[in-house]
């Protein structure tokens, strides 16, 4: 019996409310030996109080030593095994710009490049043209017209864009067209499996028309396509857990990831305060609430230790407003660590706390990496967090008699 089969068998409904607050990249490292992490440095009286009444632990996003991107990081927190459920690059890129993928879509990442008169790549990033220029080039590609499919071309940033084909029987198993070198021509889109022949043909036709439309461009007169992928098939929160789930996020990537799990996007909040306003407004309409806080990650990526500390303190100050709504289960965690010291995502386990009336005390008085290490959940796979959330919400029946 798989974990998801078990979840489906045991899930029950009640009136409980579960809040999962994801502080992106929450975990950190000290800058110096024997120093403190960002979370250990921050003044967090509210999180400490929650930790002292709840149960804490360290969640392992994928496996020990594995650094996840945002996709696998969130899949784990949402209860999907990130090694079993994969989001193809194209699908993630489309999701990240707020494009809502449908079941008939195949998405790919596009990079504009510069081709010489012989059609060979002379610049793999089209001189890194600025986004404003690139957006105009993308605009010209709206004229592409391929019989039998709808084609969407959307700008991302600089030389990057996304193309989505929508039609019957499309298949993501198309090889990248990027030869990863200059002085050679882009590859033709080709199928990896026979079922993707038609999708490869469509992509080829797209490239043919695009090349004609962009023939007079100086920099962005060619393109390579990578990471062809259909929308991943994730069982939804409603289907799996029986939870009506709301996502309250600021950035498109996290809205998109929540949508892949069948959550409903709520509001247009631009700040944590506004996110909590939205939370209060939709409190009666949902059972589960995913709140995403980006800035613990972005400050970590910038290597801005003190800024990350301040962002953690901002998060801490927001806790009482959330608590006042009366959640039955309140979780604070991250999708991965982003230590300022490394200026990047990392593999280090992520401080996680769960507060509920059914918590067994673990003797902690603070919320920090060091304390979580001694917490009642120990170190656990992130994909098990939803099992604990459902249990503490008393939404699971007994397994076996």
């Amino acid at each position: 019996m798989t974990e998801h089969e078990l979840v489906r068998e045991l899930a029950e409904k009640n009136a409980s409310k579960i809040v999962m607050l994801v502080a992106d990249g929450l975990g950190g490292l000290p800058m110096e030996p024997h120093g403190r992490t960002e979370l250990e440095t921050a003044n967090t009286p509210n999180l400490d109080r929650l930790a002292s009444r709840g149960t804490s632990g360290l969640s392992v996003p994928v496996l020990p030593g594995i650094t996840p991107g945002s996709g696998p990081g969130h899949l784990g927190l949402f209860g999907y095994d990130p090694l079993a459920f994969k989001i193809g690059r194209g699908a993630l890129e489309a999701t990240g710009i707020g494009f809502e993928l449908g079941p008939k879509d195949v998405a790919a990442r596009g990079n504009f490049c510069t081709l010489d008169s012989a059609g060979l790549i002379s610049d793999r990033r089209a001189g890194r043209i600025p986004s404003e220029e690139s957006f105009k080039v993308v605009e010209r590609l709206q004229a592409v017209n391929i019989p039998g499919v709808e084609t969407f071309v959307k700008p991302v940033k600089e030389h990057r864009f996304v193309v989505v084909f929508r039609g019957e029987g499309l298949d993501g198993a198309v090889a990248d067209t990027d030869p990863q070198a200059i002085g050679v021509a882009p590859l033709d889109p080709s199928p990896v499996t026979p079922a993707a022949q038609r999708t490869a043909d469509i992509a080829k036709e797209f490239v043919r028309q695009a090349r004609a439309l962009l023939a007079d461009e100086k920099k962005a007169n060619g393109m390579v396509l990578r990471g062809f992928a259909a929308k991943p098939q994730l069982p939804s929160y409603l289907d799996l857990y029986g939870l009506r789930a709301a996502a309250i996020a600021v950035y498109p990537m996290y809205k998109g990831l929540a949508q892949l799990a069948g959550m409903t996007l709520v509001g247009k909040a631009q700040s944590l305060d506004e996110q909590i306003d939205e939370l209060a407004k939709c409190w009666n309409d949902y059972d589960f609430f995913f709140l995403h806080f980006k800035y613990t990650d972005s400050t970590g990526e910038d290597g801005a230790f003190e800024q990350k500390v301040k962002r953690i303190e901002e998060l801490d100050r927001a806790m009482p407003r959330i608590e006042k709504l009366g959640p039955d289960v309140l979780i604070v965690t991250g999708d991965h660590s982003t230590p300022s010291k490394l200026k990047s995502h990392s593999w280090h386990p992520v401080p996680t706390l769960l507060w509920a009336d059914t918590c067994r005390p673990d003797g902690l008085e603070k919320f920090s990496e060091r304390d979580c290490l001694r917490g009642g959940f120990g170190q656990f796979p992130a994909k098990h967090l939803m099992l604990l959330a459902m249990a503490h919400a008393l939404r699971f029946g007994k397994y076996g008699a």
Copy 2:
């Protein structure tokens, strides 16, 4: 290589004795935040001494957040993955009343119901007839006679009974006949897979004869059958571990579960003291001894915190008599937690200690949830406990050269 293949490959025999004392529902919760659990409240000098000399940890019965019934809870402790080995409802119910299932048996749970003159269900529980009345109704069903199979009908409680068919080629894949509603007729037993056609026909004939025999009953003139199941195929303790295993339990359910694992039922003890008398008597005849203590669960189920504390202290006082027999490995654990606060089984990990001469000290001085969290076994799947038992009994050879 599966864990059981590994066990078979490495198991060796010696003269060691392993005692596994299962305090049902041992783990608990404080009634108030920052309070103590039942085990933390109890005065347990003997268990504390064992913990200080042994190794402790928290066992996770199935998965984090999953609350097990007695069946999966014990399967885990006995070394069977409770997600891979399942005991069908009918088989568990038969086991629970002490019916020893054989390899040719299919068991189902029966509920008497009241049928109106049109044969439609008017009361799904036959007015919850008292057990004495129900027993008489069951008695009338002994007259059922189906060619080619033996039929056993046994009372359980109130409107509940068990029916077991014994014969060649029977199969548990028969659908429930309970329409889960009143105003409709019970369903006919029907096969879920073609192999169960004959079993479904036999069940149908059982219902036909039973209806005739009970036609003049006022309340219990009909029945629904649920949870058809054959005896689960568990490799036995002797086969897997090379252990001659004895079960010393008071209640039929736990005797039955032990029997499914191939243990021999020993004695007719009605109290913990008598169980230890039996243990002493059969000490030389077995290698492994399962002792089951029910009252830590039943007091928890009643929400009787103080009573559960007293039962834990009763258990503690019994330890020296067990130690005096000279076990090589002495384990104290539970099949799940039953916090008085929740008045039910729960998903919280279970305090577990193992004493043997080969334990690495973990610095604990007490046996409690809080201490076990810092114990040498950490948090571990219950199904791994038998691996540790075998290791500390020096009954495992080396894996690989």
